[in-house]
């Protein structure tokens, strides 16, 4: 069964304090691993898609990496506006379903 586990559940950082969020996954035939950002009371917003181990993608202070078993979302010198819930998701060989993790709530204090 396809599964996604994210850690930690919550992460509190000071502004400028870099860190990483983890996403461990089990999937039959990975077609894509996705990162989304979700602000309180809103729907998730797409950040990245990673397709194969070794791939990396960057956007501003965020960098996503992928191995055969996990993905990391690295946050460099975060700012308070980076505070949000970050969701990891995978799509397997079946194609239609996207399986989500429970998310990591990030709090960045000024």
């Amino acid at each position: 069964e396809d599964q996604v586990t994210q850690s930690p559940e919550a992460l509190r950082l000071q502004e400028g304090e870099s860190s990483s969020l983890n996403c461990s996954y089990t999937v039959s035939g990975l077609r894509g691993l996705f990162w989304y950002r979700q602000d309180p009371g809103k729907g998730p917003e797409f950040l990245f898609t990673l397709y194969s181990a070794g791939e990396e993608k960057e956007k501003e202070r965020l960098k996503a990496t992928l191995t055969k078993k996990e993905s990391f979302l690295h946050i460099t010198a975060p700012k308070p506006e980076d505070s949000a819930t970050y969701l990891c998701a995978v799509q397997g060989a079946g194609g239609f379903k996207t399986i989500f993790g429970a998310g990591t709530r990030l709090f960045v204090k000024a």
């Binding site: 996705f34 729907g43 998730p44």
Partner: protein, 115 residues
């Protein structure tokens, strides 16, 4: 600006009422999805549709039904609402074929409270 619009942001219903949640997308996407989101459980797929009048059960379809009469509109129906259906409901759409990057486009969500 591409958009998925959910008609109701907040609803309060009583146990046993019939509830309709409407979702419209303007991207001409074939695939549409309904998820519910609960603290600690993440997003769980209720139903999805890959074409007009087509529907498939997701992981938690019990107590729900759906309707897709037009390509742009996907409705979620709670025939008889129960308190354990209190949740945030998220609609999403996705392209197919060459335009399919796997990215889901989400609406703002509908927060349903069943008393």
């Amino acid at each position: 600006d591409v958009k998925v619009t959910q008609s109701s942001r907040y609803l309060v219903k009583r146990t046993g009422e019939k509830v309709f949640l409407e979702c419209v997308q303007d991207m001409d996407h074939e695939n549409m999805f309904w998820y519910r989101q609960d603290p600690g459980l993440g997003l769980r797929l209720i139903y999805f549709s890959y074409d007009v009048k087509m529907k498939e059960k997701g992981d938690i379809p019990e107590g729900y039904s759906v309707s897709r009469e037009k390509k742009e509109r996907f409705s979620l129906i709670l025939e008889s609402a129960s308190t354990n259906q209190t949740s945030m409901y998220l609609c999403a759409s996705k392209a197919t074929g060459q335009a399919n990057t796997g990215e889901l486009f989400f609406g703002e969500g509908s927060r349903l409270t069943v008393l």
